[in-house]
């Protein structure tokens, strides 16, 4: 999947690119609006990660130009502003999602995957991962031995892991993903533990190997050992 990351902050641009590339994306970088325009004119991308505040121009300009050019790539806005107006304007101009800085890189990957699934498959695809078959639209998971009956949160958790497979996701990233960054819910690591334990048990009960591994108490890694990185 080809991604263009437009971000003026070099270090952040690097991190995003490194993480996404390790996550089976093909990334190109643009640190200002001119580079972005050039790249957009010459190549096609599946998704654009777009910073709104650029030194010259604005990410909104890029959005408008994309709309005028009838380009059909997904757009994920990343912005330090996080104001509702910005978000609404961005979504109105055709962006698919909006992420406020600071964010967890796994969250970014999960959002890009979600955008991609909606755009490419219309959300109606069946994903097959090792022994798991996932219907994203109907939030339905099954194995050869039958349906894995997951709660909404467990399904979201599984999707999050799948979007970041073979990567370590921290407990904090999981909390923010499941409950939202702004929820201000008390951090409860026990709750994460309970959800992960249930998810593991439900999958292993249906004949899956244990995909989820705890990493030093800092987080978890979802890995399917014998699977190529590109799903």
């Amino acid at each position: 999947m080809r991604i263009l990351v437009i971000e003026d902050e070099q270090e952040l641009l690097k991190s995003i690119t490194v993480y996404l590339e390790s996550n089976a994306f093909v990334c190109e970088q643009a640190s200002h609006i001119y580079a972005a325009r050039e790249k957009l004119a010459t190549s096609d991308y599946d998704c654009i990660v777009l910073d709104i505040t650029l030194p010259v121009g604005s990410g909104m300009d890029i959005l408008r130009e994309l709309k005028e050019a009838h380009k059909s790539c997904g757009v994920l806005i990343i912005s330090a502003k996080g104001s509702l107006d910005d978000k609404l304007l961005g979504l109105e101009l055709g962006a698919d999602d909006y992420l406020t800085k600071p964010f967890h890189l796994p969250e970014l990957a999960a959002r890009i995957h979600a955008i991609n699934r909606r755009r490419v498959f219309g959300g109606n695809d069946l994903m097959v991962l090792d022994k798991l078959t996932v219907n994203v639209q109907d939030k339905y998971v099954r194995t050869e031995q039958g349906a894995v009956d997951l709660t909404r949160k467990e399904f979201e958790l599984l999707m999050y892991f799948i979007s970041n497979k073979n990567r370590v996701v921290t407990k904090e990233a999981i909390i923010d993903h499941l409950w939202g960054v702004h929820s201000n819910m008390p951090d409860n690591y026990d709750l994460i533990y309970v959800h992960i334990r249930n998810l593991r048990k439900k999958m292993t009960d249906k004949g899956c190997p244990d995909y989820i591994h705890a990493v030093y108490g800092i987080g978890y890694r979802f890995s399917i050992a014998d699977l190529p990185v590109e799903a």
């Binding site: 270090e11 600071p102 370590v168 921290t170 929820s183 201000n184």
Partner: protein
Amino acid sequence: MKLLSMYNRYNVSVMVLVFVLSSAVSFFLIKQILKNEVDGSLLRVKAKIQSFVDQHDRLPEVNLLNDEMISFKRVAKPARGDEFRSVKLFIKGIGRVHLCRQLIYTLNTRRALYQVSIINPLEGTSHLTRLILSVTIITILMLIIATFVMNRLIISKLWRPFYQSITEVSNFKINDAHVPDFPVTRIAEFNFMISSLKTATTNASENYRILKEFTENAAHEIQTPLAIIQSKLDLLVQQDLPAEHIESLRSAYGAIRKLSRVNQDLLLITKIENSQFEKKDHVRIKEHIELKVLEFKEIWQLKNLDLKVSLKEAILSISPELLEILIYNVLGNATKHNYNGGFIHIELDADQLVVANSGSEKALNKERLFSRFYKEINNSENNGLGLSIIKQICEVSGIESAYRYEDGTHRFCFSF
């Protein structure tokens, strides 16, 4: 007491005093003048008698037609000279006792010495007293009436700019974009006051705006470095690191999370202060609370909290986002500061929401409760902004918040 009535009280009493005094003084002066007049006429009579005696060498006959009453009395030795006195005598012509002036002197004829007494009634003094008294009373009455009429008509009009300015200042809110509209007046003192008030309010608003902008800019500026640190940590954690490095990484994660939260909360507070949330009418609070209760249920079950929820319909005009944040914060606090096996009671009526929870055995500091960065204990999970956010939301939404502590129960009450 109003300044005006105070001023009037002094003004009128001094004026009354001055009038009474001046009336008394004029009364005595006029009386003195009259006395002098009468004394003069007595002396003229004396001169007439003297010239009569000189011409005719005998005492004149007393003419009863005249006002003066003259009497002669033989004496052995002469008195010192003219003696004037005031006496009260019964006057036949008037029919009552009247104040009179009497002149007594010794008349020296060739044959004998006579003591002469000339008496002339001091007419008009009682008239004068009455007149002066009534003039004084009427003047004082008119003065009082005039003062009050003046106040009603003129002075309250003159003071109007003062009251208008005071009303404007009392309506002035530092976080409000509304600039106080001070009246225009020609009165120098008021203009001085108004210009001072204008400067003060403008300065306050300006300083507040600068401070707010600073907070906002600072928070925004922090976002990007935070995002970079966060992303670097997210990359680092992917490496195969030795356990002690992972431990450091975990601490770093914890710290950056705390910092992000503080930043997020500060941004939220400035946004609320900037009124960037739009109110909506007819927001059904019950539905919002029900949704949040569902989200919290897992945590509550995990903490073995006893939950009692009684919700009635309540409709409020509030920004739905803010309502959501408010409920999250209130329920979050009730959860965070609870112990395993405690309780949470949520009660919603048409006009109030009460959230009661078990918690520490000590009441929170009521005064400082809603101030920023207030912490009862240095709880690492908390940044002390939650209640400040609650307060801000309540303020902009016209909700009254109250806190009460009773036998280990912390009770937050929100009245709409």
